[in-house]
């Protein structure tokens, strides 16, 4: 009896925690399907006849569509380039215990981004690159490379070294062992790290706020500019915010197990 009671209480507590975490996001998504009259009427809860009008308005807005495209483009290019340089580096650090070099990751995480933005702006302005996709990709890579390094160092350390040593015995060079043995085994880790890197690029606000221009600005900046219209078009704003959050929600549902492993990588060891 006592045991059943505890189980029930625990289930209740877990449900409450989940509701508190999920409800604000559910409320946002619901608002995206409401008319502007319904959005501003708090007595309209989660039961109403949904409208797609807000999404129609938002998707007819060239600025929003282009910003979403820009976010996707910058996210994909910066993630692919980051993985290309960070995965081999992580292997080198993990295999050869070069942990002092790994501390650069920590430095990159500590330094306030604004202290880098002014010099970047100055430097890239000299090169005529401010406002270009190049400078956005480079700035986002500055976040992605340390992130992928951080996750993948732990991943390679977890792979048994015997497999690569067996490769050496069979005549593979060290690089061959990396390419033919370690890299395929690291595919799930690389995928996880890349998805996370893409999400952090997709969410990045401050870099694009300074370094992008009208044509290259990403969705968080566009969304920010739309806040001033909030009082007149909550529905449209919520639809735009929902579109922005959609890829993240999909990733959270489909990849939860891997993403949790990636996010918590490195935290459980000293």
């Amino acid at each position: 009896m006592n045991r059943t009671l505890w189980t029930a209480l625990r289930a209740l507590a877990i449900t409450v925690v989940c509701l508190i975490i999920a409800m604000p996001v559910v409320w946002m998504i619901a608002a995206a399907f409401k008319t502007n009259v319904q959005v501003t009427d708090p007595t309209v809860g989660l039961v109403f006849s949904p409208t797609l009008e807000n999404f129609r308005t938002v998707l007819a807005d060239g600025e929003i569509v282009r910003s979403l495209g820009n976010s996707a483009l910058v996210g994909i290019v910066s993630t692919v380039l980051s993985a290309l340089i960070a995965v081999p580096a992580a292997w080198a650090v993990g295999r050869f215990r070069m942990h002092s070099t790994g501390s650069l990751v920590l430095v990159a995480r500590i330094v306030p981004a604004i202290s880098l933005l002014v010099p970047w702006y100055y430097l890239f302005a000299q090169l005529g690159l401010v406002g270009s996709y190049t400078v956005l990709v480079l700035s986002h890579m500055f976040v992605s490379v340390p992130l992928i390094l951080w996750i993948m160092i732990g991943f390679f350390e977890g792979l048994p070294i015997e497999l690569e040593e067996a490769g050496h015995v069979d005549g593979l060079t060290a690089f061959g062992a990396f390419r033919r043995i370690a890299l395929p085994l690291a595919a799930p880790g690389t995928a996880t790290a890349s998805v996370l890197a893409f999400i952090f690029s997709w969410n990045n606000f401050m870099f694009a706020l300074i370094l992008s221009d009208e044509d290259t600005k990403t969705m968080p900046v566009t969304l920010f500019n739309f806040i001033s219209y909030a009082s007149t078009d909550w529905g449209g704003l919520m639809a735009a915010a929902t579109l922005m959050t959609l890829p993240v929600l999909v990733a959270a549902v489909l990849g939860q197990k891997y993403l949790v492993a990636g996010l918590t990588a490195g935290a459980t060891k000293g």
């Binding site: 975490i21 708090p42 981004a113 100055y122 999400i199 915010a241 959270a252 935290a267």
Partner: protein, 295 residues
């Protein structure tokens, strides 16, 4: 050294060089440049400074009781408040989820939503929920008999409200990190304590908590660094200067405003150097505490 080892050595530097070179280039020049700027009176343009000013910016910042010190205190208030609540709640949630149950996958997905969602979008959704006249928050409070609140429209409530939004957003991360830490603990010591008749609180306090200490401190450092640097949600909800009365202007928001709204590059650089030293100090302090405790 055999030829094989030599080729290994060359290879590992080859593999490391692009990533290390990239991060190094993106960080070393900017840091030196910021340090240089902090000693000039650059205003309007970064190269407008007329030589070194002997640390005048630092004196100006440290002697500024109107913007700088209030920003320091807001940063401390926001960070300490958020991180302490997140740690306690995160630990409680991790303990709650520790034993396997049906539906763990769903719960894990839910936990990931706030920390992966775009901060600007999160700011916007809370603006709707907390809207003083039309928001659901005041509607619900009204049902409980609480008078309507101004929330983000009020000078005194904005910072605590944003701190609580941070708690909503980042407690799940804390819970996930601690859950990962709990899963690595061996079961034997806990079983032994149970056999010896320890209560569940004693087992938590004297067996689980010490075992979890390293993870807890690592999570604390990571979270504190990010909380100190919080920008997106403050700027998205309150705009430049952290509101009309600078009510949520933390050091990061202040440095941003000095740089990009006022072009006070010299002073901004000095504030950023002080801010960076502050963060480094916090990290060093927390890491030393964690090492002392585990020794």
């Amino acid at each position: 050294m055999s030829g094989f080892d030599r080729s290994h050595r060359r290879l590992r530097w080859l593999m490391l060089a692009p990533a290390l070179g990239f991060v190094g280039l993106m960080i070393i020049f900017p840091l030196l440049f910021t340090l240089h700027l902090s000693f000039t009176d650059a205003f309007g343009a970064v190269n407008a400074g007329k030589g070194y000013d002997g640390g005048q910016n630092y004196l100006d910042a440290l002697g500024d009781g109107r913007r700088f010190w209030p920003a320091v205190w807001r940063t401390v208030y926001f960070t300490v408040g958020a991180v302490v609540i997140e740690t306690i709640l995160g630990l409680a949630i991790a303990m709650l989820l520790r034993k396997p149950f049906r539906g763990m996958r769903v719960v894990r997905s839910v936990l990931m939503v706030p920390l992966l969602a775009t901060p600007v979008a999160i700011g916007i959704l809370w603006l709707l929920i907390l809207d003083p006249t039309n928001g659901i928050a005041n509607h619900l409070l009204g049902a409980l008999g609480v008078p309507p609140q101004e929330f983000l429209g009020s000078v005194s409530q904005s910072l605590p409200v944003l701190m609580l939004i941070d708690v909503w957003q980042w407690t799940p991360m804390m819970a996930l990190l601690l859950l990962a830490g709990l899963s690595t603990l061996p079961e034997e010591p806990e079983e032994a304590a149970r056999v010896d008749g320890a209560t569940s609180w004693q087992r938590f306090r004297h067996v689980i908590l010490p075992g979890l200490w390293t993870t807890l401190m690592t999570a604390l450092v990571l979270r504190a660094v990010d909380a100190l640097k919080t920008f997106d949600i403050l700027y998205a909800t309150k705009g430049p200067g952290g509101g009309s009365d600078f009510e949520v202007e933390t050091l990061n928001v202040y440095a941003y405003g000095l740089t990009f709204d006022y072009q006070e590059y010299g002073l901004a650089a000095a504030v950023l150097v002080l801010f960076t030293l502050f963060i480094v100090g916090v990290v060093v302090l927390l890491r030393r505490r964690s090492r002392e405790a585990s020794a």
